[in-house]
């Protein structure tokens, strides 16, 4: 790098001297230009010759050598040197830019732990994480990165999961907690038993995924690769034709003039700007998203995300917390708290999620001596004697069976009707709560021009309707069995345009077929869930549905940058080609169209890398 700089400066000075002196003696004049050319360009020419012997014609060095030597032959000494000089400046700048972007990518992925403190007896040995085995005991001190997945056996602390989730709120861990590699231990010292080898640990899996994401190429990358394969030979061929044919055909045309124009073609013939900047943008987008806890498994999925028209959600666990809670108590003869108490007691022997949520809402300890004669009626509910009163709690069918009239059941959620001593006492509504950011998620998707938001659920109609209304969803389908979900998805495919894509978001555990069928399968809550990471195309590490809108925004931004680069580089190149064929653009323009455009395109793709907070 430094050597290159010295050569650029020295060559530039000699060139300037030559241009100022304008020596009368043509031989001396040529000599000075040659000196500066040799200072600047000797290794380019040398490499070109070497590569020809290796059977590699048409590389950049060769093209530049021909173009500059050609300039000398047609008598344009200053341009011959200057083109080489600017080529070198551009190359230097380009490798600096590539270097920098590689560094920022390395920073993005700087979550790889360097060592593990393995406990041997009383001694701690710093070990390469690769050499740690399952069952080994490791110690993680405050400020250290957790090297492998494991379970805490001693100590408690807070861990920073932001490297994996993009979430800045630290998590609390104590004895028995799962530890995920890649997180940072903030406060106390923790001792843990290793449960997975390094290559199977969370941090390795995530890094692997991000690094290999670019092997699944997007359509725009495929286009560029294919384009680059033909572009250089075609432009070089055109250059040859341009140098030979017009002077033969057109009366009075000078060879030197047309050769000069052809040289410009050679300079523009490298497709580097495109070949560097497009994958760089995609890589940047994927890297930036992973920083925010969104893993995108391939450039193709990033591209698809940008074209999403329909977003389909699973309900439980995705839009809702998946935890049932008492939402409403409607008591007819007694205070609400008493109704809850009686019902919680009656249901206290059951481990059904509904019973658990009742007990949670009641929140006091259950005194078993107050209950007797518990009778479970499967599919209906439960009967029990509590404090001498006969309590029946269950669904509407139970009330019908007992011949007790009760309220209608379109209350949204699961309703537990309660009768005390054979007279109706009221009902309790238990429902899954919406996630805090669920409404925001839908709103942001609409703002990102998503045409339809749809919810699929196995829940009953009233619960689904209530959630859909609260969220502002366009459509919902209730009472679905897992197999029905795929069928509904197929129907929805008819409602999008040919180019549009459909994304499905689920928890990745019991909706694998739907995830697989969707254009883009997105799994939520991927942190620590291998199944979700395996099954989906995009993994959201946290439980926040609003990250989907973030992912779509990143995708759109990245695609936008890639498109700008394609249009800009191709546009400038084609314009310069046309202008030089007409004799309107000099070699200087051609150099700009080559290295200048590359540098600008690379700088532009830096913007994709800069996606830190979205």
């Amino acid at each position: 790098m430094r050597k290159r700089l010295i050569r650029i400066v020295a060559g530039g000075v000699v060139l300037a001297v030559a241009m100022i002196l304008r020596l009368e003696n043509p031989l001396l004049d040529l000599a000075i230009y040659l000196v500066s050319y040799i200072i600047v360009g000797w290794d380019v020419v040398f490499k070109a010759v070497k590569n020809i012997f290796r059977g590699r014609v048409f590389d950049e060095n060769f093209l530049m050598s021909i173009a500059t030597i050609g300039a000398f032959f047609v008598g344009e000494y200053p341009e011959g040197v200057a083109v080489m000089l600017f080529y070198l400046v551009g190359e230097t700048f380009q490798s600096y830019a590539v270097d920098r972007s590689r560094k920022s990518i390395a920073e993005l992925m700087d979550i790889r732990p360097d060592y593990a403190n393995v406990k041997h007896g009383e001694e701690l040995v710093k070990t390469d994480p690769d050499d740690v085995k399952i069952g080994d005991i490791i110690v993680i001190k405050a400020g250290e990165r957790i090297p492998l997945d494991g379970r805490v056996i001693e100590g408690s602390s807070m861990v920073d999961t932001s490297a994996l989730t993009g979430e800045s709120v630290p998590r609390e861990i104590t004895v028995g907690s799962e530890l995920l590699s890649g997180c940072i231990n903030i406060s106390g010292v923790i001792t843990a038993e290793v449960q997975k080898e390094f290559s199977e640990s969370t941090v390795s899996k995530i890094l692997d995924l991000v690094e290999n994401a670019s092997s699944k190429k997007s359509k725009s990358e495929q286009f560029i690769t294919r384009f680059a394969r033909y572009y250089t030979p075609v432009v070089v061929g055109l250059a040859v034709l341009l140098a030979v044919i017009p002077p033969l055909v057109i009366q009075g045309a000078a060879f030197s003039d047309w050769i000069y124009r052809a040289l410009a073609f050679l300079v523009v013939s490298c497709p580097c700007a495109l070949v560097v900047s497009i994958p760089l943008s995609f890589f940047g987008g994927i890297g930036g998203a992973s920083r925010n806890g969104i893993l995108i498994k391939g450039s193709n999925y990033l591209e698809a995300l940008a074209q999403t028209e329909i977003v389909v959600f699973d309900k439980t666990g995705t839009l809702t917390k998946g935890v049932f809670n008492v939402q409403e108590i409607h008591a007819e003869q007694m205070p609400e708290q008493d109704l809850l108490e009686l019902t919680a007691y009656a249901e206290s022997y059951s481990n059904h999620p509904i019973s658990l949520s009742l007990k949670r809402a009641y929140s006091k300890d259950i005194d078993n001596s107050r209950i007797s004669d518990v009778e479970e009626l499967s599919g209906f509910g439960v009967k029990a004697t509590v404090d001498g009163k006969r309590v029946s709690a269950g669904n509407k069918k139970l009330m019908e069976r007992l011949g007790i009239p009760c309220a209608a059941d379109d209350l949204g959620g699961t309703v537990v009707h309660v009768a005390v001593d054979n007279s109706y006492a009221g009902y309790i509504v238990i429902a899954d709560e919406l996630k805090e950011d669920a409404i925001k998620a839908i709103r942001e998707l609409k703002a990102a021009n998503i045409r339809q938001t749809v919810m699929l659920t196995g829940d009953n109609e009233s619960a689904a309707q209530k959630a859909a209304k609260a969220l502002g969803l366009d459509k919902y389908y209730a009472n679905l069995l897992p197999a029905d979900k795929v069928a509904r998805l197929e129907e929805l495919y008819n409602e999008k345009t040919a180019k549009g894509k459909l994304a499905f978001i689920g928890d990745g555990i019991n909706d694998a077929p739907v995830l697989a069928r969707a254009d883009i399968g997105i799994a939520m809550g991927g942190l620590g869930s291998d199944a979700a990471i395996e099954a989906a195309d995009v993994v959201i590490m946290t439980d926040e549905p609003s990250k989907i809108a973030s992912a779509i925004r990143v995708a759109k931004k990245t695609l936008g940058i890639a498109r700008q680069n394609t249009i800009f580089s191709l546009g400038v190149k084609i314009a310069v080609l046309i202008l030089s064929a007409m004799g309107l653009a000099s070699l200087w323009w051609a150099v700009f169209a080559d290295v200048g455009v590359t540098v600008i395109a690379v700088l532009n793709s830096f913007r994709a890398l800069a996606i830190k907070k979205i």
Partner: protein, 73 residues
Amino acid sequence: MKKTFKLNGLECANCAAKMEQAIGKLEGVQNATVNFMTTKLVIEAEEDKLPAIVEAAEKIVKKIEPDVVLIKA
């Protein structure tokens, strides 16, 4: 069988694409990717043919960009 290599000194993105294409065409290679940004080469191939493939890949890399050194990662 998947094997990863580091391509030290990889500077030209077009060359990276050419390497990927040429190595992918080698006999016994199921898939080859060159990641310009992480300068990594991943070869997926039949295990018994791998030593020969790696040797051939090394030659391809040298031919396309002579300054690049292939290192086992």
